[in-house]
């Protein structure tokens, strides 16, 4: 018996022999010889000192109070625990294996959000630590009904994820559906929660995000109370919120901190901004290529004048500048901050002035493209502005093909597509396809806050 256990320890040692940061120490204590295993990269010296060494030397019994014992046969589980930052203590005489959670990896402190910043309201954002993120939410919802289920995903990476929901509000069918999707995942590695999001979406081929993603604890808590399900992943800053609707992509949590008048105004701006950003340049193409007669004479004259030096058809002209803007945007976000600004200014001057003077572009188009580029940044979450960037090319090409007719056809496609999408089995276009008429109170116009006390139709909540 004793020998078997000794063999098990040898096996563990064998498994971890080529990992350099493993520490194996033998100590003589009151309870006989103890072998200690841990990964030094996952543990801070102070934690180890206070939780393991001091108790071992002074009162061995303290160790047994805070540790749990593990079956020696289960070598994979033991290795897994070591990997998770726990310390193994092997007591030789009674041949006992105990583990103590000593995990203390370096974490970032809580800072402001850069992607979803607001003027009013709390400024804290999630970090990359799962525990911190959950604690940020639990601080806002102090209710025992807030449950969190932990699972591991990724057959190679074994990353922890947490599913949070309000047990008394959430729709159980949605929850089961989500659990099923997560449990059926056979994906080897996850480095960010965005990968998980794409894998559990209803229609991964669509350009539209079907789950909401946020790094703001206040917005996530709000959705939780509304009956949504939230998923956190260790090492990812964002949280997935599902189900969600198309209209919620235009909702910022700041809308609820502003007065209803301001909030409604801003929300309308964002909503129509999305359609403007995908329609402005295609309109230019179709008006100039196919239907110059829709423009008033003076405007047409202006346009012709500014285009008189441009040798390309409007479609090529628009594609040219749109691609340049795309490049500028991408380069600006990749470059080191100090260089980025310079490039932005130079790019602006080169495109804004030089390209027009060189006769490559008309200056009216520059105004239009700049406006549409600005409008594409209006949606409060970045996912949608990426989508509008992509969708715009479909509109540009169809306007180049058939003018206004093509534009309307693309528009019809857009709506037909949105109408077919589901988020966790719930129609994506609520409340236009009405699931609940009261949702319109918090649609494009945000009604005064006292009318917003009902759960949204899309959550299909248990209680009203």
């Amino acid at each position: 018996m004793e020998e078997k256990k000794q063999q098990a320890i040898e096996k563990i040692k064998e498994k971890i022999q080529e990992i350099d940061d493993v520490v194996i120490k033998e100590m003589v204590t009151d309870a006989g010889i103890v072998t200690i295993f841990y990964f030094s990269s996952l543990i801070e010296k102070m934690t180890l000192q206070s939780m393991v060494f001091i108790p071992l030397v002074n009162h061995v019994n303290q160790i047994f109070q805070v540790s749990e014992s593990v079956d020696l046969e289960d070598i994979d589980v033991i290795i897994q625990k070591l990997n998770a930052g726990q310390t193994l203590l092997f007591f030789h005489k009674p041949a006992l294996l105990q583990v103590i959670d000593t995990y203390s990896a370096p974490t970032r402190s809580i800072t402001n959000t850069e992607t979803e910043s607001t003027v009013i309201g709390p400024q804290d954002a999630f970090t990359e630590s799962l525990e911190t993120n959950i604690s940020l939410v639990k601080r806002r919802i102090q209710n025992p009904m807030l449950k969190n289920e932990t699972r591991t995903v990724g057959t190679e990476t074994n990353i922890k994820i947490s599913i949070l929901y309000m047990d008394n509000i959430v729709n159980k069918e949605n929850l089961d559906r989500l659990r099923g999707r997560i449990d059926n995942l056979q994906y080897p590695f996850f480095t960010d929660i965005s990968e998980l999001k794409q894998l559990i979406e209803d229609n991964p081929l669509s350009p539209f995000p079907q789950h909401y993603m946020s790094v703001r604890p206040d917005s996530v808590s709000q959705y939780l109370v509304d009956g949504r399900i939230v998923i956190f992943m260790d090492n990812s800053q964002a949280a997935i919120v599902c189900p969600t609707s198309f209209f919620e992509l235009f909702v910022s949590v700041e809308d609820y901190y502003n007065r209803w008048t301001t909030a409604s105004l801003l929300r309308m701006l964002r909503f129509f901004g999305f359609f403007m950003t995908i329609m402005i340049t295609p309109m230019y193409i179709s008006a100039l290529t196919f239907h110059p007669e829709i423009l008033p004479y003076e405007l047409l004259l202006n346009l012709q004048e500014s285009r008189s030096k441009v040798p390309f058809p409007p479609l090529v002209e628009v594609l040219f500048i749109e691609l340049i803007i795309e490049v500028l945007r991408e380069a600006g976000s990749r470059m080191p901050a100090k260089v980025g600004q310079t490039i932005g200014i130079v790019g602006g001057i080169v495109i804004g002035t030089a390209a027009v003077e060189a006769g490559l572009l008309s200056n009216i188009l520059i105004v239009l493209v700049a406006t549409s580029a600005l409008l594409s940044f209006l949606p409060p979450i970045f996912l949608l502005s990426n989508t509008s960037r992509f969708i715009r090319y479909i509109f540009i090409l169809s306007a180049g093909l058939f003018g206004l007719y093509g534009l309307m056809l693309a528009f019809a496609w857009l709506f037909a597509h949105l109408l077919r999408l589901n988020s966790l089995g719930t129609p994506y276009m609520t409340p236009v396809v009405p699931r609940k008429a009261r949702d319109l109170f918090d649609g494009i116009i945000r009604f005064p806050i006292k009318y917003l006390n009902e759960k949204k139709g899309i959550s299909r909540a248990q209680k009203k």
Partner: protein
């Protein structure tokens, strides 16, 4: 079993309302004043009469469907008329649907070509249109119903464009009331104008999917009367705005109503109107195509998505067929008459049903 049943029942009341409503408004309304022109200025109230006729003819449809709550008209035909006769009639309907769809698309495309795309052939636009159509229809009847709802809210704003015509029009055109003389004119107007409000008869095909079948009559009626109201507004404003000669000779008079508009930044609202009209056409045609596909399913006793593509290809060839425009128009016009038959068809079915029932009782 219960899950199976709940999956079949897809259409909520608002879906039913707007399916009836949106399918009715197609290209018909654009030329409605011209179709009714035999009545001159008295035509303004015709749409209301159409509404009454539609409400009455809707009743037998719902009645025969409610006897077979889980079957569409294709199946009912087979049950009541026997397998072979039923299938023959179904084939007839499917062909009618195809030609009807092709007629609507062809009409619309000619309109597009004459207003918006003057320098192009219609092959490309028709192809793209059909692709989109197949995409919508492949989502099933619920997807079509949702599209209909959206279409209504996107296009209802166009009614606003008629207000200039309303301001410039003359109320005195309405008076005196009922100043037409011959019954023949009246008959002619019904014959030509009623086409514009066809579409509600499709309820016989999507009835099995309705959740609240007992109230289907009421919901469809709401849809019908929304459309009738829109038709009434447009004809009434046309009557106010145009002279009798214009009513008779301006082909797409409703489009010209838009032209009365004056904006400082847009010269021709009618082009916007006619291109936005693609939503209305899509919602109408999608419902018909869905029914045609169901028909093929029942003819071949097999379900497959491939039929949808085959139907779309057939429609493409009908629209692009190498015959004269004259022949095409005759064909499409003929299909319209068959559509009238479809409206009266349930009355015949009811008779057959009654006869069979009697027989069974005697036995």
């Amino acid at each position: 079993m219960s899950t199976d049943k709940s999956k079949r029942k897809l259409l909520n009341p608002y879906h039913v309302v707007f399916l009836a409503q949106s399918v009715m408004i197609g290209t018909g309304i654009l030329s409605l004043p011209q179709q009714l022109s035999s009545l001159g200025y008295s035509q303004a109230f015709m749409p209301l009469l159409f509404g009454v006729i539609a409400s009455v003819t809707l009743y037998p449809m719902i009645w025969i469907n409610s006897k077979y709550p889980n079957e569409n008209l294709f199946r009912i035909n087979e049950i009541l008329l026997g397998k072979w006769l039923g299938k023959f009639i179904n084939l007839f309907f499917v062909i009618q649907f195809i030609i009807f769809i092709a007629g609507i698309i062809s009409n619309y495309m000619h309109l597009i070509q004459s207003t918006a795309l003057q320098e192009q052939t219609i092959t490309g636009p028709v192809l793209c249109f059909l692709l989109l159509l197949v995409y919508i229809v492949s989502g099933g009847i619920k997807s079509i119903a949702r599209f209909c709802i959206l279409t209504f809210f996107l296009t209802i704003g166009m009614v606003y464009f008629t207000h200039w015509a309303f301001e410039k029009g003359d109320f005195s055109h309405f008076l005196p009331l009922y100043n037409f003389f011959s019954v023949h004119d009246f008959y002619e107007a019904i014959k030509r104008g009623y086409l514009s409000i066809l579409g509600y008869e499709l309820i016989m095909f999507y009835f099995p999917y309705i959740v609240d079948q007992k109230k289907a009559y009421r919901h469809t009626l709401i849809g019908i009367w929304i459309s009738i109201l829109i038709c009434f507004i447009t004809t009434a404003i046309s009557v106010m705005y145009y002279s009798e000669w214009q009513l008779e000779n301006v082909e797409f008079s409703v489009l010209n109503l838009f032209k009365a508009g004056e904006f400082s930044f847009i010269e021709r609202i009618d082009i916007f109107g006619i291109t936005l009209w693609v939503f209305l056409i899509l919602s109408t045609v999608a419902a018909y195509l869905w029914c045609a596909k169901k028909g093929v399913d029942s003819l071949l006793s097999k379900k497959s998505n491939a039929y949808l593509y085959i139907l779309a290809i057939i429609i493409f060839f009908v629209v692009k067929m190498p015959f004269s425009r004259d022949f095409q128009e005759k064909l499409f016009y003929g299909a319209n008459y068959v559509a009238y038959m479809l409206i009266l068809w349930p009355i015949l079915l009811i008779m057959v049903y009654a006869l069979r029932k009697k027989k069974q009782v005697q036995l």
